[in-house]
């Protein structure tokens, strides 16, 4: 399953056509998020390596349990399955992961400021006094 981050300029159609042009022995199905590909492991891996090169930090992939077009997981057949909402959310957030990957490429040292400490009881008491004055 190949997913294009929303921050990429690539379209699922471009990705699918590119994979077709590789002339590999695999099935390709364009989806709203990218494309699903299926075939012998080596061929799928090759396609994945090549397609990633188009936009390395904005093309993502994972294994999908169900074969392409399987009715058991077909949205048109039963309505959307729970996993659809997950892909929907992860896809939206891929732009953030893109930012993360770019930072990693640059070797940035990324740290977040420590979370604020809990308000001491003494200070809370002072605030209560101030507010209720």
């Amino acid at each position: 399953m190949i997913v294009i981050a929303p921050s990429s300029d690539l379209t699922p159609d471009q990705v699918a056509r590119f994979i077709h042009s590789l002339g590999l022995d695999i099935n390709i199905k364009e989806t709203c998020y990218g494309a699903n590909i299926e075939g012998p492991k080596g061929q799928v891996r090759k396609a994945l390596t090549e397609v990633r090169k188009l936009d390395p930090n904005r093309i993502f992939s994972k294994v999908r349990a169900f074969p392409i077009g399987d009715e058991r997981r077909c949205r048109a057949h039963h309505g959307s399955r729970p996993g659809f909402n997950q892909v929907e959310k992860e896809w939206k957030d891929l732009s953030m992961i893109d930012a993360g990957l770019c930072a990693a490429d640059r070797g940035e040292i990324c740290e977040l400021p420590p979370p604020p400490e809990k308000l001491p009881v003494k200070r809370l008491r002072e605030i209560v006094d101030e507010v209720t004055k």
Binding site: R75, H78, G79, S80, P82, N85, E88, K89, K92
Partner: protein, 410 residues
């Protein structure tokens, strides 16, 4: 027409039972569908609903229920299911059921499952859901016409009734032995009482567990699950065809609680996980007490259930309680009363919590002839249940009545 049944559930796939659900729906002309919701709808729906379960799949159930209620998704019926023994799931299941009933007119059934799902029970529920949607006109029939027979092949007893022009002219019941033979026997005896021949019948209706076998053999015009048939028979026998009512049927193997509006069921629950909450338990009690089942009610009327500690969630433990209390010197009247109270309590806890009980309550089935049990049910629901005449024949009466709906030109 395929009936779209919206599935709101958690755990069905990982319990390995989704295929059974799909199969049951398919068998009765239905199809399971999942109301579409977008990711952003889920949080909004849960916030509006007001119950925020920790398990996201239950949040999704809520969002899907809202999608149905808001009319964003079109379905004909609703099936709500969660894993047995999951507290969070049980709470959400019940609240989602209530929400659907308050906000839609869709028939709903709830189900709590384990990996060892009982296919026959699931099929009955699905069939009833589909029947309510598909055969509304048939279920609206209030008068029987022509000469028809109804057979109710139950787990404990088999009943037959012959009706002519809305009058009962013959009836018979006997304990269920071999399904087909017993079905044919009760029909023959009921026909004899009515003084008519089988060849004279305009139509036959069959319900109960053995409906397919008997119905096929007799070429029945109606072969239908007992939930809709029994509720029809109950309101017909009780002459309560208009308005609302709750029908309680404590059967030999499982119990049914059905709410009806103008004689058409709009919600039902069916129990049957433990025999302790069924008529079978009372049968076991009478055997142990060495009294005929016909006398159990009168004995219970004289006893005081509070004197005996009995909780028959499980029939085996229930009988253990009985043995212990007899050994401790309790009277058989007190034990009989405790047994009736215990069954009523189980029905109240397991079934009546899943529907909104509407008055009047009509109690039917063979167990409604046990006065002690009727009293105990009355104590639970806060009013004396109506027991129609021939209340043990509801299934056969309903089957004969509905079968007449298929007669042309009458």
């Amino acid at each position: 027409m395929t009936i779209k049944i919206a599935q709101l559930s958690c755990g069905t796939e990982y319990s390995g039972i989704q295929s059974e659900i799909d199969h049951a729906a398919d068998t009765v002309g239905g199809k399971m569908v999942y109301p579409d919701v977008a990711f952003d709808d889920i949080k909004r729906s849960v916030d509006e609903f007001g119950f925020n379960p920790a398990s996201p799949q239950l949040q999704l159930m809520i969002a899907r229920a809202k999608s149905l209620a808001d009319g964003h998704y079109d379905a004909d019926a609703v099936f709500i299911a969660t894993c047995f023994r999951c507290a969070e799931g049980a709470l959400v299941r019940n609240e989602v059921r209530r929400y659907i009933q308050e906000h839609t007119k869709l028939p709903v059934v709830t189900y709590s499952f384990t990996e060892r799902l009982k296919a026959a029970q699931l099929l009955t529920r699905m069939e009833a859901l589909v029947t309510i949607v598909e055969k509304k006109e048939l279920l609206a029939r209030e008068r029987q016409v022509g000469l028809t027979a109804g057979i109710d092949s139950g787990s404990s007893t088999t009943k037959a009734m012959i009706l002519r022009d809305n009058e009962i002219i013959g009836k018979y019941w006997t304990p269920t032995g071999p399904v087909l033979e017993t079905g044919l026997e009760v029909l023959e005896k009921a026909l004899a009482e009515a003084g008519v021949k089988q060849s004279e019948l305009d139509g036959i209706g069959v319900t109960g567990y053995g409906r397919f076998l008997i119905g096929k053999k007799l070429g029945a015009k109606l072969i239908q699950e007992e939930l809709t048939v029994n509720s029809k028979g109950a309101v017909w026998l009780a002459d309560r065809q208009k308005g609302e009512a709750t029908i309680i049927d404590i059967g030999g193997m499982d119990n049914k609680a059905i709410t009806v509006r103008d004689g058409i069921p709009d919600n039902f629950t069916m129990g049957g996980i433990c025999a302790g909450a069924s008529g079978r338990f009372l049968e076991m009690v009478t055997k142990r007490l060495k009294v005929p089942i016909e006398d159990l009610g009168a004995l219970a009327d004289k006893g005081d259930w509070k004197k005996v500690n009995m909780n028959s969630y499980c029939s085996v433990f229930g009988i253990q309680d009985l043995v212990t209390s007899l050994a401790a010197g309790n009277t058989i009247e007190d034990v009989a009363a405790a047994a009736c109270h215990s069954v009523a309590e189980q029905v109240y806890m397991q079934q009546l919590q899943e529907i909104d009980v509407r008055q009047p309550v009509i109690q039917v089935g063979g167990t409604s002839l046990i006065s002690g049990l009727v009293k105990a049910v009355g104590d639970m629901v806060g009013s004396k249940p109506i027991i129609p005449k021939h209340s043990q024949y509801i299934g056969s009466a309903g089957a004969a009545l509905l079968a007449s709906g298929f007669l042309e030109g009458i």
